[in-house]
């Protein structure tokens, strides 16, 4: 069984009288352990697709199964549970909490998973060490470089040991050297068996993955292996 299974999935926004079909009858299967890229220009619907896959939103129609759960009509609490346990996010803008130090930022998903304080600390420290930030635990995000921030974000995404890692333009705010380092981390994670879904507008970055899906005007127009 596929890890992610989309069938006839549509997302329609209503702005006044206008109907905007952000996603139009998408069919997609993603298997466990895949390294997939979704590319498309801005406004193509790739962000909407990622929000749906990441359980931040629900579709207007169609079937959406993630990790064996039918989430097309899920309640907000169910979606929160999936976001917490099955899914990790890495964003372009890092989205760390500036008032919390590195450990607390990484431990944030564990707080909502109900993990006790002592165990949270142990797991967050281990995740920080895994991304090479074991010595910056008590720093706050404003004191870190962009690459370090993104590594904190990756540690946070992985701390609850999710099955899927979503990355939305993870190198967009980084210079090319640091960007390459981050992509190498994704490669290593893929090699370790993590399912990774990368959203980008840059075919060069998509080339790191094993399978590329191109989206235009809410439809999958092309699928290829780099």
């Amino acid at each position: 069984m596929s890890l992610i299974h989309l069938e006839d999935l549509s997302k329609v926004y209503r702005v006044g009288d206008q109907e905007i079909r952000a996603l139009d009858q998408i069919d997609l299967r993603i298997e466990e352990g895949e390294f997939l890229s979704i590319i498309g220009s801005s406004g193509s619907g790739k962000s909407t697709l990622m929000h749906l896959l990441g359980c931040l939103d629900t579709p207007t129609s169609g079937r959406m199964e993630i990790c064996g759960k039918d989430l097309a009509k899920a309640s907000s609490d169910e979606l929160a549970g999936v976001r917490n346990r099955e899914v990790g996010f890495v964003f372009q803008a890092f989205n760390l909490l500036p008032k919390l130090d590195v450990v607390s930022n990484i431990a944030l998903p564990l707080v909502y998973a109900g993990v006790p304080h002592a165990e949270r600390l142990v797991r967050a420290k281990k995740a920080a060490a895994d991304v090479g930030l074991g010595d910056r635990l008590s720093n706050r995000p404003p004191q870190l470089s962009g690459g370090q921030c993104q590594r904190v974000a990756i540690a946070r995404a992985l701390v609850n040991n999710p099955r899927i890692l979503f990355a939305d333009e993870p190198t967009g705010n980084l210079d090319s050297t640091t960007g390459r380092m981050i992509l190498e981390m994704f490669d290593a994670l893929h090699a370790a068996g993590k399912t990774i879904v990368l959203v980008t507008h840059d075919p060069a970055i998509a080339a790191h993955s094993r399978r590329v899906i191109e989206i235009r005007d809410g439809r999958i127009t092309r699928e290829y292996k780099p």
């Binding site: 917490n84 996010f89 989205n95 760390l96 707080v111």
Partner: protein, 437 residues
């Protein structure tokens, strides 16, 4: 989510915006401190009143007062002679639960020394010797009125301390005894002078030499009436001063101004009341034109008025707590629009809507709780100020239940004012929140 985590998040948020939090706490601080101070103040008044009630008299006194007869008996109300000396005599003879019976008649008339000088208009009372006990009098010099004085209608008078001082300013009480005064131009011999009645504080102030005259003038003095009294025998009053007023009156049929009795043993208080009623029903020929007023009723009335004062003070403070709550709500709403992105991040990593709801609500409760702690300190200062202003017998008293009540109200205000911001924050859409700059 663990409430402890929500509390620690809230505390961090509060310490990150100290000034803003202080501003939003201000209303709660004022509300809590004024609520505690009001309660301490009314508690002080309550204690003062109770002390005063203990000082002026026990529960064993019962006043027989007249009232309108009930409509059922209205037609033959004329049959009743009203409160007369006959009631007093009947009670004295038949009511064995009573130890003292004191009928009184009053007359406001001119009192002067025999050496000339301007007469003062004073309330003169015609009393029985039992009045000495029922009025809780103490004699300073001379003697009180005796049964013989009453029987003979002698022209003797017992003066309150203030009266004696005013008539002979420089004469000690001992020398005032034996002097002659003119009551309505008739000479009376002063046979006794009563002690000066005063509150404990006044006595202390007088002994320490502070100007008690000023303070006793400025304040309501519960013993003023007792100190300014002029007492003469009942019969003398009737024959010398009152007999001409209503020609048809005899000593037995004249209406009494007051009739007070003392129950001998408080264990038999209710039977004594029964006894009084059954006797008075006979002398009043079955007309219920009298009522028995006990001190208990009176005390109850005083307590009721104190309670009303406490309630109104509490209400005013409650209003300021509501205002404080609105202040918190304002700040919470402002802080939410500042923290939309943070809420989005928390939602993205798996916070449920109810986690966000609780986080905001607990933060709001924390603000009000910390505000109420500050309010407690503020109230301590406020009470000190009140202590220096308030009359010494009504010293504000701080009780733990006032503090608990105020803190409880403050927390409730924080809870109520946090509900709307919390609901608003938890309904934020994660995608919009993450895009929010």
């Amino acid at each position: 989510m663990n409430p402890l985590i929500a509390i620690s998040i809230g505390l961090r948020e509060i310490s990150a915006h100290k000034f803003r939090t202080c501003l939003s706490m201000l209303g709660i601080v004022l509300g809590v401190s004024s609520l505690i101070a009001t309660m301490a103040l009314t508690r002080g008044i309550e204690d003062g009143t109770r002390k005063f009630m203990q000082q002026i008299g026990g529960l064993e006194f019962v006043s027989i007062v007249s009232k309108e007869p009930s409509s059922k008996k209205f037609e033959f109300a004329n049959l009743s002679p009203g409160r007369t000396l006959r009631d007093a005599e009947a009670l004295k003879q038949s009511a064995n639960f009573l130890s003292h019976v004191s009928p009184e008649i009053f007359l406001s008339t001119a009192v002067a020394t025999d050496g000339g000088g301007n007469p003062d208009r004073r309330m003169v009372r015609g009393v029985y010797p039992d009045h000495f006990v029922i009025g809780m009098h103490q004699i300073r010099a001379g003697r009180f009125l005796t049964p013989l004085d009453v029987e003979r209608g002698s022209r003797s008078a017992v003066l309150g301390d203030s009266v004696a001082k005013q008539l002979w300013p420089d004469t000690p009480a001992e020398l005032a005894v034996g002097k002659t005064i003119l009551i309505d131009s008739r000479p009376f011999v002063v046979v006794g002078v009563l002690t000066l009645y005063e509150m404990e504080e006044q006595a202390r102030a007088r002994k320490s030499g502070r100007g008690s005259a000023r303070s006793s003038m400025s304040r309501w003095d519960p013993f003023r009436q007792k100190n300014e009294t002029v007492l003469i025998p009942f019969n003398t009053m009737f024959h010398e001063l009152r007999s001409g007023a209503f020609p048809l009156d005899s000593l037995d049929t004249m209406k009494l101004e007051t009739l007070t009795v003392r129950v001998e043993d408080l264990d038999y208080f209710q039977p004594a009341l029964e006894q009084i009623r059954s006797i008075l029903d006979i002398t009043h020929r079955g007309v219920d034109d009298y009522d028995l007023e006990t001190r208990q009723d009176w005390f109850d009335r005083m307590e009721r008025s104190v309670r009303a004062a406490r309630l109104s003070g509490g209400l005013i403070s409650a209003i300021s707590l509501v205002v404080g709550g609105i202040g918190i709500m304002n700040i919470m709403l402002a802080s939410i629009s500042e923290r939309v992105r943070e809420i989005g991040i928390r939602l993205a990593v798996g916070a449920r809507q109810r986690d966000i709801f609780w986080q905001i609500l607990i933060e709001s409760i924390l603000v009000s709780f910390l505000g109420s702690l500050l309010g407690i300190f503020a109230s301590l200062g406020l009470i000190e100020i009140l202590k220096s202003i308030a009359p010494s017998e009504n010293i504000p008293v701080l009780t733990p239940d006032a503090i608990f009540l105020a803190v409880g109200f403050a927390i409730a205000a924080g809870l109520l004012s946090g509900l709307y911001p919390a609901a608003k924050a938890s309904s934020i859409d994660p995608i919009t929140a993450l895009r929010y700059e």
